[in-house]
């Protein structure tokens, strides 16, 4: 249903909240999409929902009568289909399949046949719209799980977090297959599969984690530190290169002189003249023909592989020597390193971590400054890994000056098998895979100007690395393990005790089945007999615990068709996996054991504790990324030639902005509606520089007040959201419009229909984006959805493909006179807007639609099942509670956790 037709209930809704839950629910059901739901929703909080019905509104029968029943009616039933008396409700899979075929045949243009009477475009679009929506409703109703929560396997994140909590080690889970089916959250049990290969991988990863953990538990914790003066890496490198290039220069000169001498011999007069004539413009090329000149020496005699190389190496000399000379005259070249952007060898300052140091958490420090000459845009450094591939780990704004440099501290995790070399470089030295990064372009521009290159922007005095530092909670885990290992008696009873202790923690407080324990002990015995040392032998059954179904699945026993309340322990587990993606900690377990957790006040208090804990980021990040579909940002590369400043670090920061803003709102109990529109942005120095918002320096994200005319503030002003509504080169109003409908207005367009004929009439003509997309309106099959989608996208056209504000579209294929952007439009059957700001205001005026979509996502993520019709009353309850608190973010979570559904299996 169209949200713009729902204006009335909105006011009714707020005024009726005070009238009690019943009234609120009734009002809410009126705002929801499906009329049939009203009855269900109002009685829902106490009774299970009755199945909902999908029904094509009766007025659409007229469409059949006009265009279909001549062949599919009482007289003829072509294809055994009769439409005059067909039931308009879609209650069974069989009916759904039949209607899907009808829809498909109209979408594909097959029906009505070409020679038959054709419906008028708008009428056809209306009909298709209604039938598509009915089908979406039908599929949803038919696939409704009736409130069942399918048992969940730990997904990749949860598995990784669980091993960390259990063993105090980091596990690389990249080899495990990815979770979820693309349409679901990665917590939805029915979409989490298991395979033989996966079982083997669990054993492999579990064993590795155990090995690491045992090793760490018994290792002496010794803190290492290494310090490197940056110039100690750079100066010798420059000196070596200088010497090398001088030698090249000398050898090349000797060679060419001897070739010249040979060319002067009488027998070479003719060929020499020909060659000189031929290479008049590039005299160097003359020497490539040395073989044609009798008596000329080979470049090999002068240490070059061949003539081409000789010339090339010599050519570089001309660039290098002046650059190096210039570098060495920089005021602090002898006491540190100026980061180059290209060509010279000192683009990095390395941080090598000695191989002997153990895996763990380290701190890297760097003393840095920005130069006076370097432009503000370049006062950033990337911190990169060097192995197995060069990757930006994080990016930092350089705020120190040459007089008072800053000291930057970066925590890093060193893996036992991962790379040991890290480095600092100016931001965006690393290019996209498709070619040279923006820094390369920067160098070329500078070089063309002065034959040396651009000014240096960042100076590094020294770098150091120190560690490992064991975080307190890891130290606790390891020291407990150490005690256990030290007290381990290698007899059968000792092994049994160790295994049972470990299993009870691994299985989240549940006792290990005796039979399983027996078999694990047998396995231990088997390994000892095979000659393993006792501790090694123990690891085999321990590994198995970590690959057992009791560990991998969050089971909640229940009888079919009966709903029961969760035990305290099950509730603790569900809660902890929801907000931390980890098993319950000691406090939750203790409360569960005492039977305190079910008490509403205690539960609310625990929710507050979990939300305040840093581990909450393990909820925020995956939830926000999946809810808003942010993975799309990685589906294409941004064209760095068109958009040099939307480099990889900026892209990463723009994604962080979405997550950080959500986290901030959650923390300060802010309203969800601030994501629609707000008078502040939550950004760091890098993004402020990108958005051209002055006065923000440093790496930490913070609230920054925005001027009234700023397009930023709210999701629609965030670069990441806008950028994923593009293909990396051009904006895609369709992607953007569909995203707004899906995520902000909660009116998701039906899935793109199959078999719709493509529109090619205007292909290849010079058109504005708007003109190109306007084609969608010519054809009912397209118009049924695009008349809703496209206008919203037009309203966002003032943002280019990387979310920067623009007033003209400079695409070369757009005629010059049409380059001014026209952002005006109107919501389908809704209000018109003149520009982005008016459109944003209209969207922001529908907070209840946005909140509704958010609530459904939260329920799906938190309960681990697709949101179904049977969840309607739950959604209404959550929404009602949250709206009473001005949609404050934590209220949604409190309401969900307090709901009956969260406590039931």
């Amino acid at each position: 249903m169209n949200p713009w037709l729902l204006n009335l209930p909105k006011f009714g809704f707020f005024s009726r909240i005070q009238g009690g839950l019943w009234a609120a629910l009734a009002a809410l059901s009126a705002t929801a999409s499906f009329p049939a739901q009203a009855a269900t929703a109002s009685k829902a909080s106490t009774e299970p929902a009755t199945p909902l019905r999908a029904e094509l509104p009766t007025q659409h029968r007229a469409f059949f009568e006009s265009y279909c029943t001549k062949c599919h009616g009482p007289e003829k039933q072509k294809g055994k289909l009769r439409l005059d008396d067909i039931s308009l409700s879609v209650d069974t899979l069989k009916q759904a399949d039949r209607w899907a075929k009808i829809l498909n045949s109209i979408n594909s243009g097959e029906m009505p046949p070409e020679d038959a009477k054709q419906p008028e475009n708008n009428a056809k679009a209306d009909f298709l719209d209604a039938l598509s929506q009915t089908m979406v409703t039908a599929r949803k109703a038919l696939s409704d799980q009736g409130g069942n929560i399918t048992v969940r396997r730990l997904n990749r994140r949860e598995y990784q977090n669980t091993l960390r909590e259990l063993l105090g080690v980091e596990t690389d889970v990249a080899t495990l297959p990815s979770d979820g089916g693309g349409e679901n959250f990665d917590t939805v049990g029915s979409a989490l599969f298991m395979s033989a290969d996966q079982f083997l991988l669990y054993r492999q990863l579990g064993r590795k984690a155990l090995d690491q953990s045992f090793k760490a538990a018994m290792a002496k914790t010794e803190v290492h530190k290494a310090h490197f003066e940056a110039e100690a890496e750079t100066i010798p490198m420059i000196e070596r290169s200088m010497a090398e290039f001088v030698s090249i220069r000398k050898r090349h000169t000797k060679w060419t002189r001897q070739v010249d001498a040979a060319a002067r011999l009488p027998e070479n007069a003719k060929i020499a003249q020909e060659l000189r004539e031929k290479h008049k413009d590039q005299s160097e090329k003359f020497y490539l023909n040395w073989e044609k000149i009798q008596g000329a020496p080979s470049p090999k005699d002068f240490g070059f592989p061949d003539a081409i190389d000789a010339n090339m190496m010599n050519g570089r000399w001309e660039n290098y020597i002046p650059q190096a000379a210039d570098y060495l005259t920089q005021p602090k070249a002898k006491t540190g390193t100026y980061l180059g952007v290209a060509n010279l060898n000192h683009r990095w300052v390395s941080v090598p971590v000695p191989k002997e140091w153990p895996a763990g958490e380290y701190t890297v420090r760097a003393r840095l400054a920005c130069t006076e000459e370097g432009p503000v845009d370049r006062r950033f450094v990337d911190f990169l890994s060097d192995y197995p591939s060069s990757q930006v780990l994080n990016t930092h704004q350089v705020t120190g000056t040459m007089e008072t440099p800053q000291i930057l501290e970066i925590p890093i995790h060193i893996d036992a098998e991962g790379g040991r070399r890290f480095k600092f470089a100016e931001k965006a030295i690393l290019g996209n895979a498709d070619g040279m990064g923006p820094a390369g372009q920067l160098f070329r521009a500078g070089f063309q100007e002065n034959k040396i290159g651009p000014d240096y922007a960042v100076w590094v005095d020294w770098v150091e690395v120190e560690g490992p530092f064991v975080p307190p909670h890891v130290a606790q885990i390891l020291s407990a393990l150490q005690t256990q290992i030290e007290q381990f008696q290698p007899d059968d009873a000792g092994a049994r005790r160790f295994l049972s202790d470990f299993a009870s923690r691994a299985l989240r407080g549940r006792p290990i089945p005796t039979e399983f324990l027996d078999k694990l002990c047998k396995l231990y015995h088997l390994r000892v007999t095979a000659g393993d040392a006792p501790l090694e032998a123990l690891k085999e059954p321990l590994t198995l615990v970590l690959a057992s179904p009791s560990f991998l699945y969050l089971t909640e026993p229940a009888e079919d068709g009966k709903t029961r309340q969760l035990t305290d322990l099950e509730l603790a587990t569900r809660l902890s996996f929801f907000l931390w993606s980890t098993p319950p900690d000691a406090e939750l377990l203790a409360l569960a054991k005492k039977g305190e957790l079910q008490k509403p006040a205690m539960l609310a208090q625990q929710v507050e504790r979990l939300l305040a804990d840093p581990r909450c980021v393990r909820f925020i990040k995956p939830f926000v990324l999946q809810w808003l579909g942010l993975s799309r940002l990685d589906f294409f590369q941004f064209n760095t030639k068109l958009y040099p400043d939307y480099d990889l670090p900026t892209k990463a920061a723009s994604r962080d902005e979405v997550i950080e803003t959500f986290a901030y709102l959650l923390k300060k109990r802010g309203s969800l509606t601030k994501l629609l529109k707000s008078d502040f942005a939550f950004i760091n120095g890098l993004l402020a520089n990108y958005y051209k918002i002055p006065g923000v320096f440093g790496d930490e994200f913070r609230e920054v007040a925005l001027p009234a005319d700023s397009p930023r503030g709210g999701l629609l002003g965030m670069a990441a959201i806008l950028a994923m509504g593009s293909n990396g080169e051009q904006t895609s109003p369709v992607e953007r419009g569909a995203w707004v409908l899906r995520k902000l207005l909660h009116e998701p367009p039906p899935p793109a229909p199959a078999n719709v004929p493509q529109l090619n009439r205007l292909a290849g003509k010079p058109l504005t984006t708007r003109e190109r997309i306007a084609q969608h309106q010519e054809d009912a099959q397209c118009a049924q959805c695009h008349r809703k989608i496209d206008p919203i996208g037009f309203g966002l056209e003032n943002f280019d493909a990387v979310g920067k504000w623009r007033t003209v579209d400079l695409r070369p294929d757009v005629p010059k006179q049409n380059q001014n952007i026209d952002p005006s439009g109107a919501f389908f059957k809704g209000p018109a807007f003149r520009d982005f700001f008016e459109m944003r205001d209209l969207v922001a005026a529908k907070p209840e639609r946005f909140a509704r979509g958010f609530t459904e996502a939260l329920i799906e993520f938190g309960l681990g099942r697709p949101f179904g019709f049977s969840d309607e009353p739950l959604a209404a309850n959550v929404l009602a509670s949250a709206s009473q608190k001005d949609f404050a973010l934590p209220e949604f979570i409190h309401a969900l956790v307090a709901s009956k559904e969260f406590h039931s299996k």
């Binding site: 599929r139 089916g181 395979s195 088997l526 079919d560 078999n755 292909a763």
Partner: protein
Amino acid sequence: MNTSLSRRHFLRAAGSVIALPALESLGFRAFTAEKAVSRPKRMIFLGFGFGVTQETWFPDVKQIGAEYTLPEGLAPLARHQKDFSVIQGLSNQYSQDAHWGSTFWLTGANRFSEPGQSFHNTISADQAAVAKLGQDTRFSSIQLNGGDPDLVAHHQGHGPGLSLSWDAGGKPVAGLNSPAQLFHKMFSEEPMPLAQRQALLAQERSVLDAVLSDAKQLQRGLTKNDNDKINEYFQSIREIETRIARDEQWLGVTKPKAPIGEPAANLHGKEEVKLMYDLMVAAFQTDSTRVFTYRQPAEAFTKSIGAKVALHDMSHYAPGERMLASQARDRAQSELFAGLLDRLKFVQETDGSSLLDHTCVVYGSNLRTVHNLDNCPTVVAGGGAGIKLGHHVVAQKNTPLCNLWLTLLRGVGVEAERHGDSTGVLKEMAV
């Protein structure tokens, strides 16, 4: 008893390590010729997910039969025209997801057919073939995926799934993602000594026994729905048991010597496809497996042929740059496919016939073009399934694609009643 079994028993009896090609020098040709038995049948399913440029890929529907002109998109296959058929008119009636080119391609399933679930699938044709073709080789079947490092298959036009294959329960079967992985699986020797491996296999039974006891305990008291889910775990363990049994059978037999060199890591797109094809042939040469599926790279592929337009834009082509890119992709894919057929022809069985004579290679996608899921592009090559080759066949519109799968399955000797939504075999393909 079929040949391959006796061949392996022969190997075992000889008690030594012999790569298959060496058999001929031992007079194996005479040995088999005497018994006059048929060669093992093999199947390859190559799915490219995204569709084709329909204007220049499909032959003219008016030219039916052996006399037809190969259109531009298939032109690189000209030298093999007698060895494959192009079939039009096939589709999966339940496929409605316009961005899913592979999920139901080999299954024909109705994703909504399970009440209370929004996703359902059934066994894929290759897995149905495994029952017959997967018994006598070290690996019953092998699944391959194009490695698009930064992309998930869902957005490459393939749709959900871990490969083209779905097991008997309709669950996704995982695949290998690079030529290097495939190489090591087939040819790299286990570093462990034989006795130790035997002991390990024995211990493995205790391991499985232990987790099975946990699973059984766990299943008590669960709802039917949850039990079904835990059953996936059981299935996995059973699969490993089968593998162990097979491993035991093959314990004395060293892995064959690789007929080609180890592929480099990080090959993408075109390079990857070429190497995967080489390795498939190597797998058949060494009889490591007889069934392959390969969900081919899409984004990485177009990038590797230098296309300047984004993949999704390209699939929504219109005359101009996008269509040219789409056509270039079609040609590049067909060239590689032609290369695979070359190599399958080149390798001879001991009786002088070629690998291709006994192999059925399917090349296609569930997506025709743009968002169209009808008239799925379909090419079948090789003599493995005994179908009519060298023809352009136009089946009646909307003939189930599963009719073709059923035809091929029966052709390679699987005694299947039906497959997916098949209504019978494709009579048009009878020789």
